[in-house]
Every structure is written in structure tokens, then in C-alpha cells.
Amino acid sequence: MSGETEIRPFRVDIPDEAVADLRRRIAAVRWPGQELVADRSQGVQLATTRELARYWAAEYDWRRCEAKLNALPQFTTQIDGVDIHFIQVKSPHENAMPLIITHGWPGSVIELLEVVGPLTDPTAHGGRAEDAFDLVLPSLPGYGFSGEPAEVGWDPGRIGRAWAVLMDRLGYTRYVAQGGDQGAGVTDAMGREAPEGLAGIHLNFLRDAVAGAHPPAETAAEERAADAIATFRTGGFGYFLEQATRPQTIGYALLDSPVALAAWMLDHDTDSYYKISRAFVDGQPAGGLTRDHILDNITVYWLTGTGASAARSYWEGGRAQVIAAGQGRPEVKLPVGFTTFPDEIFRAPRSWVEQAYPNLTYFHEADRGGHFAAWEEPGLFATEMRAAFTSLR
């Protein structure tokens, strides 16, 4: 029994052949013709993908990323039948608040590496010791270095329960949880289930609004948000629908072609696409979204072969939504913090967040940052975390 709850140290150790194979596949890529438009309205632009592929094969260095990961304390532990990979960084400060942050799609723990320092060691980053966190950064089941579930049922609720087990196993009796994108779904589920030890949550994404709920569109801010969602659901929803209904179908290309994977992952939303495109084509990274960081993330998906299993999380989410429809969900009674980042798919108005989370104890509209908030603006994200959770200390 104890073997199953064991926490094992983990190191990333990719064989040379796997890295060489990646380069070979990129070099042998067969390109389709160019899009017939001058923007992203037909999808990921050929020039962007070509430049990304060129840099990936010729200049990108995976070992740098591997070293960065291995410089952090990484572990795996089996929970509910799946090996869960996580980074755990304890703060040097006393009374640091344990915080579990869940990434989303097409992200990974890579998105969060630059917030480790500011959150766990605030005094070295212009912050106060009282604002220190112990950080736990898990890889979602089927993503990154976590194992892939072999059975149906790993919906956000089950993941949230696994996270509660994880925090308990790490000895944390009082902690908070944060998430964006899929991570927001997991964190929301944790908020509703309110496991022993969870003191509060923070989100930077209102998942329900994108997945089909229709919050009111009365104020100007609400109308703008509703329009943005309508635009997304009309023109940018394809990947969501494909992953929610046919993850295995798209999965074959995602496992077999690095360029297929990269193009797929670049097309999450308009803002992040253009930021990534500019990083490669114009040499203009948006904050922490540099060429290397972008490729660190894509390369993790490639080397772990998790394109299909990650897509499957949308299928699980869709299935859970269908099952839950008509069954009420418990409210989130715990304190909730929310940050609206301006370049997210839609700017969640305070009114919508309040409606979803009546016990809203923190709300702020940040100045900068989009869907991958922590990745682009680690300093700003850290500031938000400190401010959001200070009332819970």
C-alpha cells in the first residue's frame, strides 16, 4: 500500500535519438500550399510555421530546457491509477502559503517556470516575505511527464480530487489553488468539492462562458465579452470541437508530425497566435513568450507523445458537461479571486465573475497579458497571486 503513495524524485532524461528524430522529422517536412489570405483567417500562416520549423531544427536547444526543468525539484506519484508528475518548490520563508497551480491546453508546467522565483522567493523579486508561497505545479493527466489515463472518466472533477490527494500526500493541511484554461476547470471543480485543506481559489479564465453558458449581455463590458466569445465560437472554435469529439483522429497527426503538432498548438486563440507569430517572424517576443519558451512547451508535448492524450481531456470535459447538465452543481462557497487579463479570449466582466462565484473576495483587471498570462507576464501574474491570496493568510 505504501508503495502506491510513494513520492519519487523525477528527472527528465530524453535520449539523444529522440531529439535527433525530432530534427529529422522537421527537416523532412512536406508543406502544403500557402493560405490564400494575408492574415490568420484561414488558420496558422505558412510563413509562421516555416520560420518556427526552421528555428526549431537549426537553433533550438532542448537540453537547455531539460536542464532548466531538472534544476527544479520534480517528482512523480501515483494517484488514482495515474502517475502524476509535479514540480514542488518550497519557499525559504516561514509560513509560506502552499499554492497548487494547474496549467491548461496547449500549455504545461513550462508556462509556469518563470513564476517560481517571484512566488516562492518574493524578496528576491521585489516582494515581501509575507507573500511567499510553496509552489506545487502538476502536469495534468495525459500531459507532459504525467502518465496517460487508460480509462474513461478523467474529467476536471476527478483531476481536482487527485490534486487534493496530492496536497494531502505532501503534508499540506491548508492550501490554495489557481488555474487558467483547463486548469480553471480543475480549480473550479476543486472549489465546488471543497476538499479538506482547500482555503480558497483563484482563476484567470471563466471556462463556462466559452463552453456554452450564456451569461447576460446587458452592460457595455458584458456585450463586449459576449461579442468576443461569439467571434471565438464562430471562427476559432474548431480545435475545441475536434478535441472534444474526435481527439484520436487529430491525435495521429499530432504524434507523427512535429509541424502538425506545432501548427495545432499555435492556433489556440487570436491573441496568442499573433504574439507567437511575431516572436518567430518578426523577432518580437511578447514578454515571456519567447521563441525558446514556446518551443520548450511544444517540444515537451512532442517528446512525451501527449498530443492525443491532451486532446482527450477536451473529450472528457465535454462528456462531463453532458452528464452534469440538468444535475445541479454545488456552489463555490470558498473565497474566490479572479484576474481578468486584457488579451484573453474575452475580458470577463466583474458582473459575470460575481454571478459565477458569489463569494468573490478579489477581482482585478490587469494591464497586460493574455491567455497565457503567467507565461507572458510572470511578474504581473505573481503580483496578482500575492494580492489575491493575502486575505487568506
Binding site: 476559432g236 487529430i250 502538425a260
Partner: protein, 412 residues
């Protein structure tokens, strides 16, 4: 693929086209890529509800990389008369087979996605040479079988605008250029849409159409489907059944068309991964499943889900996928969805004489009541016993009978 024409005046000429022989090295490269496929883990369900099942496509890939022989398909294609002509700035490829019966009815037959001219090869002889198939000489056709823009051996558009109405106009130009002053049009899938629009445009020579993918959904039903139900009151049993089929399509099976309709270029990887391409093309469903049941049966080599492959073989399926690969048309073909945000299902509003065959395995089986409302001069309506979305490919005999019977009223 097409010859370079120096003199623009010659562009409108009809030039004989030789199916290019794919170099051995290219076929070797394809086999090597398939053999080097990196596979995902198996789906976590026991059916196709997460996509094309791993075991199915791995089996297909093994055969594709070893014993499958493209040369066989190449030879079959080469044995037919092919041509290219430039219409509206784009090279249009087509097969043109004239019947020995001089007063045969000229017929332009249009494929769809994920199909190609390969779907029509088995109906060429039954339609142009009916007496060899137990049918009457008076039911003979001259056949014109084009590749859609961006598909097969046709050119790939280099600017936006090649929507269905433009294709329909090009087809009318083609028939005129071939000297046909009276003809009919046939199609399923996108070919059905092209045929519908040709009928709406009513070019002087077009007598009527036959479709095996009719657009018949009435506006109130379409609205209810969009909203996710419930269906409007007062639907007959046939209509209710069609409603349920459409509802399944819209809730579970439209991701591929949604993605190609909005982000075709994001699928860039299916030009790079043969198995990725195969999975994408296989994932078109019909009312019996996704992948389409007869396609599944053909690939597996045994009847799956109670729906036999009919005349469809594993080689047929791979011929078609290989054609997409070898012509590198996966993405250019996808762009057709981007160009046309119209629904193929909605009531077509066609006044020219129209014949409709509602095959049982189609995505939805159009009820006669809806068909009569959408096609105002319905000269033929029939529900064949067998056949699905790829009707000509799976059931060439039944399909040919349908086309003969359907268009017979147009003959004088």
C-alpha cells in the same frame, strides 16, 4: 501536374492530360513515412466515439506500407481519357468518356470531400455502356467527371473566391466547351451542392439534375437543430428520423467540417503525416457511424456494424487517400469548406427538374416531404435499399440504376 501553356489563347483549349507516373522514389518515401509513424496510445473507449480507432488505422497503415500497390490505381486511371482545360484562371482536370450510343445524355458528375474522381470509376461503364450491364441503350450517358478545384489533378486556387457558385459556373463553361448543348448534372456531398447551384444558375444547356445528397432541411427544422432541439411539432415519422440523424451529425460529427470551414491551414500537418492524413479523411461519417460504416467494413475486411462494404475495397480507400497524398491536395481541398459557409443540408430551393435518390446510409435520409419542398420540380424520388454517403463507390450498380431512372424523364 499540368503542362505549362505559353500562349494564353491556348489555355481555353481542351488539352489531353496524362496521369503523371509517380516516381518510384516518391512511393518509397511514402512507404517509409508510414513505416516510421509514431503512434498515440489507444483510445480509452471501445468504439469510435473518440475518433478513428487505433487498431483500425494501424492495420490499414501496415498494408499501405507493404502490399498496397499504387501502380494498380495509376494503371486504372491511365486507361481512361483525361483532359485539362483552363476555366476562370484555373486548370480543371476531368475524365471524359463518350458512350458508343451517339444520343446518350451528357452528364457531368461531381465528387465531394473526402472523395475524388476515384469514387466514380465504377459507374463509368454502367452509365456509358448500359447494355453490358443489363440496361437499355436509351439510358446511356456521355460522362464528364471533373476534379473539384484544389482536388486531385485540378489546379489549386491561389486566391480566395472559388466557392460553389463559381465552380458551378465553371462546370457550365466546361460542358459548353465540350460542345454539349443539352446535359444534366449529378452529385453527392459537395457535388450535390454544385449540382443544386447549377440548377439555380440554370445555364442554357442544363436540363436537370440528380443528387444523392439533397439539401432539404426546412428553415424551422434547421433553426431547431441549431438551438439543440427540441424538434418542431408535427414531424412525420420519416421527418423525425431525419431530424434525429441530423441532430447526431450536428452534435457529434461536425468537428471536421467546422475546422476546415474556419482553420484549414491549421491542419497543415496532414500534408506531412500520411497516417494523419488517412485518419482525417477516414473520419467522415454517415448515419451508421464515423468513420462511415461501409468504409470501416472495407478497411477491416469484414462487415462491421451490420453494414457491408458493398463494392468498396480496402484498395479503393487507399487509392483515394494516396491520391490526396501524392497530389498534396489535403489542405487545398479543405479550403473548399472555408470558401463555403453554406449548409449542404438546408433546403436547396431548386426549380429546374431534379431527381433525388435518398440512400439509407447517407448522413441523413431526406424524407420525400422535405425533398418536395426543396426541389420544386421533383421528377424522381426514391429510397434505395442499400448504399450510403459514398453511394457510387459502394453500390455502383444500384447507383447507376438510380441515375438512369432519375434522369430518364429528361430525355426526349
Amino acid at each position: 501536374m499540368s503542362a505549362t501553356i505559353e500562349n494564353p489563347v491556348d489555355a481555353a483549349a481542351i488539352r489531353p492530360f496524362t496521369i503523371p507516373r509517380v516516381p518510384d522514389a516518391e512511393l518509397e518515401a511514402l512507404r517509409a513515412r508510414i513505416a516510421a509513424t509514431r503512434w498515440p496510445d489507444q483510445e480509452t473507449v471501445t468504439d469510435e466515439s473518440q475518433g478513428v480507432p487505433l487498431a483500425m488505422i494501424q492495420g490499414l497503415a501496415r498494408y499501405w506500407a507493404t502490399d498496397y500497390d499504387w501502380r494498380r490505381c495509376e494503371a486504372a486511371l491511365t486507361a481512361l481519357p483525361h483532359f485539362i482545360t483552363e476555366i476562370d484562371g484555373l486548370d480543371i482536370h476531368f475524365i471524359h468518356v463518350r458512350s458508343q450510343h451517339e444520343d446518350a445524355l451528357p452528364l457531368i458528375v461531381t465528387h465531394g470531400w473526402p472523395g475524388s474522381i476515384l469514387e466514380q470509376l465504377k459507374i463509368i461503364d454502367p452509365l456509358t455502356n448500359p447494355t453490358a450491364h443489363g440496361a437499355a441503350a436509351s439510358d446511356a450517358f456521355h460522362l464528364v467527371i471533373p476534379s473539384l478545384p484544389g482536388y486531385g489533378y485540378s489546379g489549386k486556387p491561389t486566391a480566395t473566391g472559388w466557392d460553389v457558385p463559381r465552380i458551378a459556373r465553371a462546370w457550365a463553361v466546361l460542358m459548353e466547351r465540350l460542345g454539349y448543348t443539352q446535359y444534366a448534372a449529378q452529385g453527392g456531398d459537395w457535388g450535390g451542392a454544385v449540382s443544386n447551384v447549377m440548377a439555380q444558375q440554370a445555364p442554357p444547356g442544363l436540363l436537370g439534375i440528380h443528387v444523392n445528397f439533397p439539401g432539404t432541411v426546412p428553415a424551422d427544422v434547421a433553426k431547431a437543430l441549431q438551438a439543440g432541439g427540441p424538434p418542431p411539432a408535427g414531424l412525420s415519422a420519416d421527418e423525425r428520423r431525419a431530424y434525429d440523424q441530423l441532430n447526431t451529425l450536428f452534435t457529434k460529427r461536425r468537428a471536421y467540417s467546422s475546422l476546415m470551414g474556419t482553420r484549414p491551414q491549421t491542419l497543415t500537418g496532414i500534408a506531412d503525416s500520411p497516417v494523419g492524413l488517412a485518419a482525417w479523411l477516414l473520419d467522415h461519417g454517415d448515419s451508421y457511424g464515423q468513420p462511415a460504416a461501409p468504409v470501416t467494413s472495407a478497411v477491416l475486411g469484414h462487415t462491421a456494424n451490420g453494414h457491408p462494404a458493398g463494392a468498396l475495397t480496402r484498395d479503393d480507400v487507399l487509392d483515394n487517400i494516396s491520391l490526396y497524398w501524392l497530389t498534396n491536395t489535403a489542405i487545398s481541398a479543405a479550403r473548399l469548406y472555408w470558401e463555403n459557409k453554406i449548409s449542404l443540408y438546408n433546403a436547396a430551393d431548386v426549380s429546374l427538374p431534379a431527381a433525388v435518390s435518398a440512400f439509407p446510409g447517407e448522413g441523413y435520409q431526406a424524407p420525400q416531404s422535405w425533398t418536395e419542398q426543396a426541389y420544386h420540380d421533383l421528377i424522381y424520388y426514391h429510397q434505395p435499399d442499400q448504399g450510403g454517403h459514398f453511394a457510387a463507390w459502394e453500390q455502383p450498380q444500384i447507383f447507376s440504376e438510380e441515375v438512369r431512372a432519375g434522369l430518364r424523364p429528361l430525355r426526349k
